[in-house]
């Protein structure tokens, strides 16, 4: 149990996918202008990342390793994740229209998101078993959501402040992201 707790804390804070591993910066900047968009994106990522972690683990374990095709890992994972997201979208639209309404426009955005792919590959590299993979994927997604929501909260306040024109928009966003990353570096060596 302690191992799982450690896994979770490390995935959320210490090895935060956005601020410690710098994966998924595109949606980090793109969907953080508004809190509502940010929370929607965070939920969609949680959903997809957990699913993708599980399915890529299965692909790796039962297809690539037995046939010694590990060198196809990246392309195979991309293909599988993309198909998975499409499938999830189709199924959701029919079975859970409310959830589809909430996540709908974000799902296509993350079909080949580097954070999703990154977590899938880390799962393999660290030799996690199925349970660890699920926990790590989910926790990484929570970490992603946490960083995104904090970031959106800060950026929403930018409209209330007077800042030089050159810094408005993405420029101040990147600076803020850098400062946040520095803060998250403080978690290094926590364990």
């Amino acid at each position: 149990m302690t191992a799982y707790m450690l896994l979770i804390v490390s995935a959320i804070l210490v090895n935060n996918i956005l601020l410690a591993q710098f994966l998924g910066n595109c949606p980090f900047l793109g969907t953080s202008n508004k809190m509502s968009t940010a929370t929607g994106m965070a939920m969609a990522v949680t959903f997809v990342m957990t699913f993708a972690g599980a399915i890529t683990w299965l692909v790796q374990r039962y297809m690539l390793i037995p046939y010694e095709l590990e060198y196809l890992q990246t392309i195979a994972f991309i293909l599988v994740i993309a198909a998975l997201v499409q499938l999830v979208e189709i199924v959701l639209q029919k079975t859970a229209p409310a959830l589809y309404q909430a996540l709908g426009i974000f799902l296509p955005l993350i079909t080949t998101n580097c954070a999703v792919l990154g977590v899938a590959i880390i799962n393999i590299q660290k030799n996690y078993d199925m349970m660890e993979t699920l926990v790590h994927s989910f926790a990484s997604a929570i970490g992603f959501g946490l960083a995104l929501v904090i970031f959106a909260g800060i950026r929403e306040r930018f409209v209330l402040s007077r800042m030089p024109k050159v810094l408005q928009g993405t420029a101040s966003g990147l600076i803020t992201a850098g400062l946040m990353a520095l803060i998250f570096q403080g978690f290094q060596g926590l364990f």
Binding site: M63, L69, A76, I90, K94
Partner: protein
């Protein structure tokens, strides 16, 4: 290599097959029309239609919930394309909607509380104590609406206030939704004239004081630009009878004019007359306003006076089917049968009424409710009824001999006869009793008919006279003999003919309920006057007999002054579906008050017919607010008021030519330039003072 291609191809094939199966199994039915509609819609996702984006709008149209004209961004072409797809017809409303800024001055020209260093958004600034401006409804000028406009139709002007580029504005409403103070609005004529001014609106002192609440600074500005038609458009959004009001209105607006603190008030009423005369004398044809699409609702207006005509006019503009019935041979009410020719020529009034009937208002004269029609029948047949019954009964003097001689009559009777072109001979010595405008009209008419001595007997002094100052002044010039502080006590005659009238002197005592000092007779001061005619003009009251003996009419509650009891803000009576206003509800009053009632009642009727609550905001401007004048130390150049040009007294004798001949174009331009273009507290020349 081959192996890799096969594996990846295999995964791809499996995924594709899986997706294909899923798409079939989990297929959601999408109306093919929605896809087609999406191709037609512009895809701007502006939300101006009220739906969340174009796909939601397409779904609404496909389900038949929205009209073909829903897309505000696409314009006519898109509406036609949608209509073609859905087999609908485009119902076109002739009205154009545009964004409109309701604030006249930017931050540079306003009192400012404090600066918000760092706040770059109006909504944020408004949260902090309502913004920096002292004016609670002034534009904050931080450009939130400019950023909210998806069509680049707004740019920030030099003073921070947004400027609307009309050619780009699609009336999507994003600016209105983003403005925390409701200053920028997507407006169209019908939304403007159904708007009830509230304490949250920027109304200049004159506009707030005008019973009809015409946007006076706006039309004066239009006149200053030389755009007389635009001025007329602005006037007619609150007053459809500017030719009449430009002549007979007591213009209380001028008494509120801020310019009084500098030199003299603006000649507002005659500027209005200029704009109206321009249509009649220069264009010589009616410029009809756009009408909303027809609604199919039928409304009956009983009474063709100023209030009834106004109500009919606005209801017609809202797309309703309106009919007016009038008991006299011609419409106009007291404007025709009370106001003499030299103040308001009948031809002018005819032109004004034509402008209303040309809009599609049906007018039937010589029919009287209670005789030719019963209210109960009208109530049955029409969706709403507006009672504008007027105040046609005259009050009597209650002195001995009042009813004994044919030469003693009421002033209104006399004026009605004149309006009907009947013979109204007067003798040498005419006495008019009363101090209102009717008394003045009768006196000045008698003088024109050749009376040698016209006496006006009023029991109070000149100061208390309710008649317009100009009327008293002109009457003086025409030789009317005012006998203030006098009251008739007896009327005497010989052989059935009037010879003399006994008059008693009065003196002013303690103030009464109306605030005026009560006149008290002076004992023993009675004296006799030789008279040939006596006209009593001491007040008029409504006659509601036509509502008696009628199932519906009986349910319409009266006041204790025997007028119809109404809710002033909407014209509703105690009987749902029956509305009332004008003299019949408020007792004898002015034309412009009738016009106010007419518009508010048209509003009330429209709210009822469209299913809204018939109510106005609680903070509506029922009475003019107290507004500050021109501050000390503000430097405004003085200039003379352009006064009305009029006929000399010699030119007026023995004829009924219109006395006031109008301003000249230069006079009008100068006068319009004098206007301070006030807002609620701002005005031209006003500069910010940090505090």
């Amino acid at each position: 290599m081959i192996e890799a291609a096969f594996v990846i191809g295999g995964i791809g094939a499996v995924a594709a097959a899986g997706l294909g199966v899923a798409a079939k199994v989990f297929a959601v039915y999408v109306d093919p029309k929605v896809t087609e509609l999406l191709d037609v819609l512009p895809g701007a996702n502006c939300g101006g239609c009220g739906y969340a984006g174009c796909s939601a709008a397409a779904e609404a149209v496909a389900k038949g919930k929205a009209a073909a004209t829903l897309c505000v961004a696409g314009g006519d072409d898109v509406a036609e394309a949608i209509a073609a797809l859905m087999g609908m017809t485009v119902v076109k409303g002739g009205e154009v909607s545009l964004a409109e800024l309701g604030c006249k001055y930017g931050m540079d020209e306003a009192h400012i509380h404090f600066h918000y260093d760092g706040v770059a958004d109006c909504r944020a600034a408004a949260l902090v104590a309502g913004g920096g401006k002292q004016c609670s409804m002034g534009c904050l000028g931080l450009g939130t609406c400019v950023r909210a406009c998806p069509f680049d139709a707004l740019v920030q002007g030099p003073d921070g206030r947004p400027v609307v580029i009309e050619s780009k504005c699609t009336a999507c409403g994003n600016c209105e939704r983003s403005c925390p103070k409701g200053i920028i609005r997507v407006n169209k004529p019908s939304r403007r004239f159904t708007h009830v001014q509230t304490t949250d609106d920027c109304v200049a002192p004159c506009q707030a004081t005008c019973p009809a609440q015409i946007d006076i600074p706006a039309y004066i500005a239009a006149i200053g630009r030389g755009d007389y038609l635009d001025a007329l458009r602005i006037i007619k959004e609150y007053n459809p009878l500017p030719l009449t009001c430009g002549r007979v209105c007591p213009h209380v607006c001028e008494s509120a004019c801020r310019r009084q603190d500098v030199d003299e008030e603006i000649n507002i009423n005659h500027l209005k007359r200029w704009a109206a005369d321009y249509e009649m004398n220069v264009l010589k044809e009616h410029v009809l306003p756009p009408k909303a699409p027809p609604t199919g609702k039928k409304i009956m207006v009983v009474g063709g006076g100023p209030s009834g005509l106004t109500c009919a006019y606005y209801l017609a503009r809202l797309g309703h089917d309106v009919k007016v019935i009038e008991m006299m041979p011609k419409a106009g009410g007291m404007l025709r049968y009370g106001i003499p020719e030299y103040r308001l020529p009948k031809a002018t009034l005819d032109f004004e009424i034509e402008g209303i009937t040309a809009l599609g208002v049906e007018l039937e004269c010589n029919v009287k409710m209670g005789v030719d029609y019963q209210l109960a029948d009208l109530y049955e047949e029409y969706d709403a009824v507006y009672l504008a019954l007027g105040a046609w009964d005259s009050r009597r003097m209650r002195v001995p001999g009042e009813t004994d001689f044919p030469e003693v009559a009421s002033g209104t009777e006399f004026l009605i006869k004149r309006g009907l072109d009947e013979e109204t001979p007067v003798g040498k010595n005419v006495v008019i009793v009363g101090g209102g405008n009717t008394a003045m009209d009768v006196a000045r008419t008698s003088w024109r008919l050749g009376a040698e001595n016209v006496y006006l007997i009023y029991r109070r002094s000149r100061k208390e006279m309710p008649a317009n100052d100009i009327e008293v002044h002109e009457g003086d010039k025409e030789g009317i003999i005012y006998k203030f502080l006098n009251n008739p006590t007896k009327i005497v005659g010989e052989d059935g003919h009037l010879t003399q009238m006994e008059v008693i002197q009065m003196e002013l005592g303690e103030p009464d309920a109306s605030g005026r000092r009560r006149p008290v007779p002076k004992e023993g001061s009675e004296h006799l006057l030789d008279v040939t005619n006596v006209f009593a003009a001491i007040g008029q009251s409504p006659n509601l007999e036509c509502l008696d003996d009628d199932d519906v009419g009986e349910q319409v509650e009266r006041t204790r002054w025997n007028s119809v009891l109404v809710d002033e803000s909407t014209g509703t009576t105690s009987m749902p579906g029956v509305f009332s206003g004008g003299d019949g509800a408020r007792g004898a009053a002015t034309a412009v008050e009738g016009i106010r009632d007419g518009r508010l009642a048209a509003n009330g009727i429209h709210m009822m017919l469209t299913g809204d609550d018939v109510a106005v905001p609680p903070n509506w401007l029922a009475r003019p607010p107290k507004l500050p004048g021109v501050d000390e130390g503000v430097d405004i150049a003085k200039g003379d008021r352009a006064n009305m040009r009029e006929l000399t007294v010699e030119q007026r004798a023995l004829n009924f030519e219109e006395v006031e001949i109008g301003l000249t174009e230069e006079m009008v331009k100068c006068e319009a330039d004098r206007c301070l273009q006030c807002g609620l507290i701002c005005y031209r020349g006003f500069r910010s003072k940090e505090s």
